[in-house]
Amino acid sequence: MLTLDNVEIRQGTYRLEADFSVTGPGLFAVIGPSGAGKSTLLAAIAGFIVPTAGRVFWDQRDLTDLPPGDRPLSVVFQDNNLFPHLDAQRNVALGLGSGRLSEAENQRIDEALARVGLVGKERRKPAALSGGEQGRVALARALVRDAPLVLLDEPFSALGPALKAEMLDLVDAVLVKAGKTVLFVTHDPEDARRMAPQTILVAEGMAHAPQPTRALLDDAPAALRDYLE
């Protein structure tokens, strides 16, 4: 369970508040007008931004003062998720740490790459992979990293609609089925409607507790309605 306890983030005149819990596992959409603070919310959970007030918990554990790499979570960004000088396998391996890999670990990496449909492309560098395939490598890494919480900050927004849907299905099939709690930022309400039973709305300086997606979208509050129009 992810808990944001009276979290407040200030950056200049900008302000975002969040005070709620997310009970996984499952897929949770994060939607809201652009500039409302969807990415800021994820950055605070991931540890890239330190909240000006409040605490962030995973279960009973206080994450607020931990650096990003020590938090029980994986992040997939919009771009630059993969190091271009390393092949797919090595990029995934970094999810297990940076030392020498054991036989069992190598096997886990191969399994993860197979799980996301990249058999035969393990030795390719990112430049030799398509945009969708690069996204798959990032998902495979989140899979081997095996952290209970996964944050997806619009990693598929540069892909076409069909490919994006395919990738979200893959997230569902691979990460959610593996028991992860997945938060994904999207600017397409249809993604949320199709994939996420519950949605976190970020609007007007406030990140709201997860609510049933269908109800939220069908009976949209004013802040969201302007954006949905």
Partner: protein
């Protein structure tokens, strides 16, 4: 981030103590009581005068060449621009040898003069020093001014063409403002370089009329063994370069290593016969001036190369080791300093301080550092015995500013693009270095390593001061051969030295490029 700050701090302390420590010793030992004699004042005057002339000639002659390169496309243009980068790598003493083959007593020019019944011209003294400096700095000035031309937005040239501006109006509105901005900085940079150029003065200068301060330091050591006077002169030299460096800080000095010079300015003037002729002549003269001395080295050295005396081969081996050690040291120092500056970025002052240390060597010339180190170790060991170590360290420090110029931006870019991903994966310390930083720095490190190795390979500075009898580097050995008038051996050594310098640069630079992914 702690380890990065620690390693960078250690590197900065090392650099600062090697540059500033000798200065302190120089200050302590300087016999100021004796004051500056007439010979010292003459050396100061000559140093400034030759640097000034070199800067003015190099820059003024570079303007028509850069202009022609900016607006013409012709066969060999790319090769010529590459060649303009070569004087960074060609050892000074080798170039001097080539210049002597063209302008020396028995050179091409004097042979032609004799044939025409004209009196011979001498390449020694002021004219020789300035000539050699122009040989080295005309290409540098051309590259920097060419960059200025290419930086003029192409829209302006299109606008000028659509308004049908006359060539004069075009010069006044587009080119003059650029030149006014770029040229003072270029002159300042070359002036700074020429105040500390030792090997040229050693080989082509000398005598009461053509002794630079650095040459006077060298003579105080080797001829008079007057350490107090050497220390005082080193202080003078430091004041001189320090002052020039301060002025250079005020005048914006352009970055010495521009990239992307293979573009051409698209413009619609300069189609007349005269302007084509002017451009053609400028480019041809520059090419001949640069290429002929290099060709002469190859021609005159080819025979000597096949039967090099053993002392030359031994010296070549020592020089290779010194060059590789210097390159390795520069790479370690530049990566440490750059990572610390990056890690401490949020604390601006500390980052700035660490970065500034890397550039200290610009103000302290190798001879000044050498003087201080000599004074430091003289009571303990025979300086000649540590000559090679000192040479490698001083060479590494001299190349450090160039290395940092290449490494700092690449490291900042790697962190900006992939830093978050590395943070999210918990990559810290050595793991971050290994998986993110070093692979992203391959190109700049290859380039910086190649530059350092080549500079070190050809350096004739501090090693001459320590003058090891039987552990000479290749440039020193070559200088001794020239001094003994063994010209054929010297020619062979020159060609070997040139080939080794180019090969070192090529190997390092290539190592950074092969299989490096964008």
């Amino acid at each position: 981030m702690r380890p990065a700050a620690l390693a960078g701090g250690a590197a900065a302390v090392f650099v600062a103590s090697i540059t500033l420590g000798p200065l302190a010793i120089v200050a302590l030992r300087a016999e100021i009581g004796a004051g500056l004699g007439p010979a010292d004042l003459a050396a100061i005057r000559f140093t400034i005068w030759q640097a000034l002339l070199s800067a003015v000639f190099s820059t003024l002659l570079a303007i028509p060449v850069a202009r022609a390169l900016a607006r013409r496309r012709f066969w060999g243009r790319g090769a010529l621009i590459t060649l303009m980068g070569a004087p960074f790598i060609v050892p000074v003493i080798v170039a001097v040898f080539g210049i002597l083959a063209v302008f020396g007593r028995n050179g091409i020019v004097n042979t032609a003069f004799a044939w025409l019944g004209l009196p011979p011209v001498s390449v020694y003294g002021l004219q020789g020093v300035v000539l050699a400096h122009v040989f080295f700095n005309l290409p540098l000035a051309t590259r920097l001014i060419l960059q200025g031309w290419l930086d003029i937005p192409s829209e302006r040239f299109r606008l000028a063409a659509s308004l049908n501006l006359s060539p004069r109006a075009m010069f006044r509105l587009l080119e003059w403002p650029m030149l006014r901005e770029v040229v003072p900085g270029v002159m300042m940079l070359i002036f700074l370089i020429c105040t500390t150029s030792f090997a040229v003065a050693l080989t082509l200068g000398g005598g009461p009329a053509a002794t630079t301060v650095e040459l006077a330091i060298y003579q105080a050591f080797l001829l008079e063994f007057d350490l107090g006077r050497a220390a005082m002169l080193a202080g003078v030299q430091f004041a001189l370069t320090g002052a020039a460096a301060l002025v250079a800080l005020v005048v914006a000095v352009p970055a010495a290593m521009g990239a992307g010079l293979d573009r051409r300015v698209e413009r619609w003037d300069g189609l007349s016969l005269t302007s084509r002729l002017v451009d053609g002549i400028a480019v041809s003269l520059a090419a001949v001036f640069l290429i002929v001395p290099l060709v002469m080295i190859a021609l005159s050295g080819a025979e000597g190369l096949t039967r090099l005396p053993p002392e030359v081969l031994g010296a070549a081996g020592r020089s290779l080791i010194v060059a590789v050690v210097a390159a390795a040291l520069t790479l370690v120092l530049s990566v440490s300093i750059a990572s610390a500056a990056q890690a401490l970025k949020h604390r601006g002052g500390a980052a700035r301080l660490i970065e500034m240390t890397g550039y200290l060597a610009i103000a302290a010339s190798p001879l000044v550092i050498g003087t201080g180190l000599f004074l430091l170790v003289f009571p303990i060991v025979d300086p000649a015995r540590i000559a090679l170590v000192v040479t490698a360290v001083v060479n590494a420090l001299m190349a450090l500013p160039f290395a940092l110029r290449a490494v700092m931006p690449a490291l900042a870019a790697a962190e900006a693009r992939y830093g978050r991903t590395a943070d999210a994966l918990g990559l810290r310390g050595w793991a971050r270095m290994r998986w993110l930083i070093l692979p992203r720095l391959r190109r700049p490190l290859g380039f910086a390593g190649g530059l350092t190795a080549a500079l070190s390979m050809g350096d004739l500075g501090v090693v001459a001061l320590f003058s090891p009898v039987d552990a000479a580097t290749l440039p020193l050995q070559m200088y001794r051969l020239m001094g003994a008038f063994r010209m054929e051996d010297a020619a062979g050594a020159a060609l070997l030295l040139l080939m080794l310098s180019l090969a070192l640069f090529w190997v390092f630079d290539r190592g950074g490029r092969v299989n490096a992914d964008a």
